[in-house]
């Protein structure tokens, strides 16, 4: 039951963060009710998505319970993506 409680708490947190992301877009970018600037919102929203991804991977996919090498494996794929995206993006700046 402890696990199910933990899963439920994480689910609630994920829903709340998603709602906040949407609210930020609505208030700052869409309606311009708050003057924060695009890039501030951009990074806040991306960091929030990253936190959600870490939560799903860590607890729902049980990455925290697996050998650390599983995390390194996924990180290797992510590093490839970052290298490609950053390299290609920077090349045309």
């Amino acid at each position: 039951m402890a696990k199910i409680r933990l899963y439920t708490i994480i689910f609630a947190a994920l829903m709340v963060i998603s709602t906040v992301q949407f609210a930020l877009e609505w208030a700052v970018l869409d309606r311009e009710l708050i003057d924060m600037g695009y890039w501030v919102i951009f990074w806040i929203v991306i960091v929030m998505s990253s936190i959600k991804a870490v939560a799903v991977a860590g607890w729902y996919m049980h990455m925290l319970e697996e050998p650390r090498a599983i995390t390194y494996l996924a990180m290797a794929g992510l590093l490839c993506v970052i290298a490609l995206t950053a390299g290609a993006g920077y090349s045309v700046l």
Binding site: F11, T19, K52, A69, A74, G77, L84, S91, V92
Partner: protein, 906 residues
């Protein structure tokens, strides 16, 4: 155990292998040694295919304007030659050896997933067949093996190659599927199934080279897959009129080069690393000593494998990328040559320190080292920005990479001679082997060295008459030879024929030796260090006489089975366990489904190649009800009839009717069916056939035992099952696939002007609300699938089925919402796939994600039916299958967590 010792199953399942003389054996086998032989022979077939194309090229180049091929024909031949040699010969040839010898070298009975290994092979074979088919569809791809944009788009090759180009692209996609499945299999095997006491660092060098190769394959081919999927959609939706993704003004053609070379440069090492492994093995064996600096040799290989992903832009020095990134890439490129220097010195110094035996395998490896050094040095020129400005697109490049690639091929041929006695139990003819080497070495150098001399010949041109001047020393006016280009090209052509003829000697030698009386025992070589030489030639069916162990520092065979699952509770056709019904359980080695499933992929791909745009999705849409109905039918047959199976079978007809109505609205019934071209029907038959084979394979009882953990080295993945690790490895590849899609979108958006992106889109309004709703729905489905797992572990049928059902409903809700969203944008707002680059990026990226959701839904239907019949939650069952599926499903969720902000919010 020999063939005679293969067994029949007590449950009547046809798991035994027919004898090697039977054709059926080679169609159903999942044994790694058989598949290794199939890979090797098939790769040699493609070598001959691509070699004949090479002869055509060289005949065309005999003199400028000397035609045996048309312009378009020449371009097709050059393209197919490159693709076949790189993809369908070099790597698969290496993986023939890897399939055969990696399990033997690490002390495993087979690969972790034998049926998937067979799937890899058959997909490989049929993908090559599809490339051959492309020539008979008017014309094949005429782009060169790099498929550079925009010449890879229908708009820039109007009137030619519509069907054949698409078939060639689909052939590459199927090939990538084969490679990815193979990578998952090898990585899982090598991390989880090494014999007791065999530390990773002590693994034989050929196996280590394969390990690093498959790591590179896993990530690099995923980037290529992304590029190919995008390209195929350009072919389907952009047509001859549109610009598509890679023809867009937002750097579309530059994006292709990024994606292609992010794959393409690691591909060079993917091709070459197995050859390095062969070089190390052969040099050790024929020098009679362990490799000098073995540890540093391994570290150098690992360094290259990592660094290979940060050098790709040295292929792009003449594009519009900026100077700072060119400089970075020049440094990393020059840097990557250093570990290679170390490796070459290690090989050479081992020869010097040892006592060389000049046998055929050694001669080939020595020749390969010489060729590689020449190829490597000439490559360093191309890594320097300023020199590359002159050398790019010339025969310098052609000569350089043929020296590198053929060096790999020559080493692998050495590997074939080296292991031929082990595979066949017979010794080849040493004299003919040496004749082959001499002819090949002279022929190769006569073929390619003159091309350095006439380096000013433009690459892929056969009209070089304007160039028939005296060759000069690069960057000077010093005349090198007082002749024109023609004589050098003629020398190259003679060299090509000599090189080709040398292989006839090899074919004769290896074929005749099969029937000779030169029988070998465990090893024909005086000094060997790896496990394959400790067993008979050819090795027994189960590889070893007992469980291999290196625990004492040398190889021993322990008594007793090396695997878990020696017995299991007998199952009736309904999967119901009866206490006390235990039977001995043997590993399975035979299945028809890998062959049939791959054949279905070929048929479907041929169909797709000619599908009209408006019919594109329909074969697959109609395959969904067939999937549901057939799942019910097959499930009832294998697990016993339950109400769920009845519901599935009953649901198929209404689903057909529903999709039929939608089809009627678009095309009219029966008019739409009558007007559909033959490719629609081929794709439909292929899709239905594929569905049936997939389900049949899913329900097939196939036992591939995992080794006992106490008799196995599993660092660093102890405590993870093979299937779970396999799933994680697959997800690693999927990260790069989605990452390349998202990276492409980011690249285009940067090119366009980041904040102007959505402002420039030609739709009326962004779909933020549907995005939020789908985020909620997917997060909820992640939550419920993890609850399904929790309840399965608790043994709760209600909880397991309930949460599986809720997850399925959530996924369905996601798809319905997605259809509404797309309908609004596509139909009501007229924002079609090709309306602008924003639309292409949006539909393709979210579409790839939606396709993952649909696949997940189909798998859930399978899981639900099986769970209803008692799987996963009841006694003696385990919940792991739900966990493996959950990993996939959560990953799909994670991808959406980034698509939501990037495509809906920001």
């Amino acid at each position: 155990m020999s063939d005679d010792n293969t067994h029949e199953h007590d449950d009547g399942h046809d798991g035994h292998l027919p004898p090697k003389s039977s054709v059926k054996r080679w169609l159903v086998t999942t044994n790694h040694k058989d598949i290794g032989i199939l890979y090797t022979i098939t790769a040699i077939f493609f070598l001959i295919f691509a070699g004949i194309l090479a002869m055509l090229i060289r005949v065309q180049m005999w003199e400028s304007g000397h035609f045996i091929l048309s312009d378009l024909g020449y371009n097709q031949v050059v393209t197919a030659h490159g693709l076949l040699m790189v993809f369908w010969f070099l790597s698969p040839f290496a993986f023939g050896l890897a399939n055969y010898f990696v399990p033997l070298q690490i002390g495993a009975a087979d690969l972790a997933f034998p049926r998937l290994n067979a799937v890899s092979y058959w997909l490989y074979l049929f993908s090559g067949v599809l490339l051959g088919v492309s020539f008979f569809q008017g014309a094949s791809l005429p782009t060169g093996w790099t498929l550079y944009a925009p010449l890879n788009l229908p708009a820039f090759i109007p009137g030619v190659a519509e069907l054949g180009s698409m078939s060639a692209i689909l052939a590459l996609i199927i090939f990538v599927a084969s490679v990815t499945i193979g990578s998952v299999n090898f990585l899982t095997t090598m991390y989880r199934m090494r014999a007791e006491g065999l530390r990773m660092r002590d693994t034989p060098l050929f196996s280590i080279s394969i390990l690093l190769t498959v790591w590179m394959m896993l990530f690099a081919f995923a980037a290529l897959l992304a590029a190919l999927i995008l390209l195929s959609f350009d072919h389907v939706f952009a047509g001859e009129a549109g610009q598509g993704y890679f023809g867009s003004e937002e750097g579309g053609s530059l994006l292709w080069t990024h994606l292609f070379w992010f794959f393409g440069h690691p591909e060079v090492y993917i091709v070459f690393f197995p050859a390095l492994g062969v070089m190390a093995e052969v040099v050790q064996t024929f020098s009679g000593r362990r490799l000098v600096g073995r540890k540093w040799f391994i570290i150098a290989m690992a360094l290259v494998a990592i660094q290979s992903f940060i050098v790709w832009m040295h292929h792009m020095f003449l594009t519009s990328i900026n100077l700072p990134i060119k400089t970075v890439m020049m440094v990393t490129t020059i840097g990557i040559s250093l570990p290679f220097d170390l490796m070459m010195f290690a090989l050479i110094y081992t020869m010097i320190k040892g006592r060389v035996r000049w046998k055929t395998p050694f001669l080939f490896v020595l020749g390969a080292i010489i060729l590689f050094i020449l190829g490597g040095i000439t490559g360093v020129f191309l890594g320097a920005i300023v020199l590359d400005y002159s050398f790019r697109g010339t025969y310098w490049v052609v000569a350089h990479f043929h020296y590198v690639m053929a060096s790999g091929a020559v080493a692998l041929i050495g590997g074939l001679y080296y292991w031929y006695p082990k595979i066949t139990g017979k010794m080849y003819n040493e004299f003919l082997g040496k004749v082959h080497f001499v002819l090949a070495f002279i022929g190769f150098n006569l073929l390619y060295f003159p091309l350095f001399v006439v380096w000013e010949t433009p690459r892929r041109w056969f009209h070089y008459d304007g160039m028939t001047v005296a060759p000069t020393i690069p960057f000077t006016d010093i005349v090198l030879f007082e002749t024109g280009f023609t004589i050098w090209h003629q020398m190259a052509t003679i060299g090509a024929f000599l090189f080709a003829a040398s292989f006839l000697v090899m074919f004769y030698n290896l074929f005749v030796s099969l029937y000779s009386d030169r029988v070998v025992d465990e090893s024909p070589w005086a000094y060997t260090g790896s496990a394959e030489w400790t067993v008979s030639s050819p090795p027994p069916e189960t590889n070893f006489p007992g469980a291999p162990s290196f625990a004492t520092g040398k190889l021993n065979f322990l008594e007793g089975p090396a695997t878990d699952g020696g017995t299991e509770t007998a199952k009736t056709d309904g999967g119901v366990a009866h206490a006390g019904d235990t039977v001995e359980k043997h590993p399975d080695h035979a299945s028809w489904w890998p062959l049939l499933m791959s054949l279905a992929a070929l048929v479907t791909a041929i169909g797709i190649s000619g599908l009209e745009t408006s019919y594109f999705v329909w074969p697959f849409v109609f395959a969904i009800p067939f999937f549901v109905g057939y799942l019910g039918f097959e499930g009832a047959r294998k697990d016993g009839f339950t109400p769920v199976h009845g519901i599935y079978m009953a649901a198929a007809m209404p689903l057909f009717a529903l999709f039929g109505i939608v089809f009627h609205l678009h095309h009219g019934v029966p008019g739409g069916f009558i007007e559909a071209n033959q490719y629609f029907w081929i794709a439909t038959v292929g899709a239905f056939f594929g569905v049936a084979t997939l389900i049949s394979m899913g329900y097939e009882s196939f036992f591939a035992p995992e080794p006992k953990p106490e008799l196995t080295e599993q660092w660093p993945f102890e405590g993870v099952t093979n299937t779970k690790l396999g799933m994680w490895v697959f997800l690693g590849s999927d990260i790069v696939l989605f990452g390349a899609f998202i990276g492409s979108y980011i690249f285009m958006r940067i090119q366009h002007g980041w904040t102007d992106w959505w402002v420039s889109a030609t739709y009326e309004s962004k779909a933020v609300w549907p995005g939020l709703v789908n985020t909620y729905v997917l997060l909820a489905s992640s939550f419920t699938i993890v609850l399904a797992l929790a309840y399965a572990k608790k043994g709760s049928k209600r909880g397991t089925l309930g949460f599986l059902a809720i997850t399925f409903i959530g996924a369905g809700a996601f798809m319905i919402n997605k259809i509404i969203e797309w309908n609004e944008l596509y139909i009501n707002q007229g924002w079609t796939f090709n309306a602008d680059v924003m639309a292409s990026a949006y539909y393709l990226t979210t579409g790839l994600h939606a396709a993952h959701v649909v696949v997940g839904m189909l798998i859930m239907l399978f899981l639900f039916a099986r769970a209803y019949s008692g799987a996963y939650w009841s006694e003696d069952e385990d919940a792991y299958t739900i966990e493996y599926f959950g990993l996939y499903w959560h990953f799909v969720d994670i991808v959406w967590l980034f698509l939501f902000p990037l495509f809906y919010l920001l």
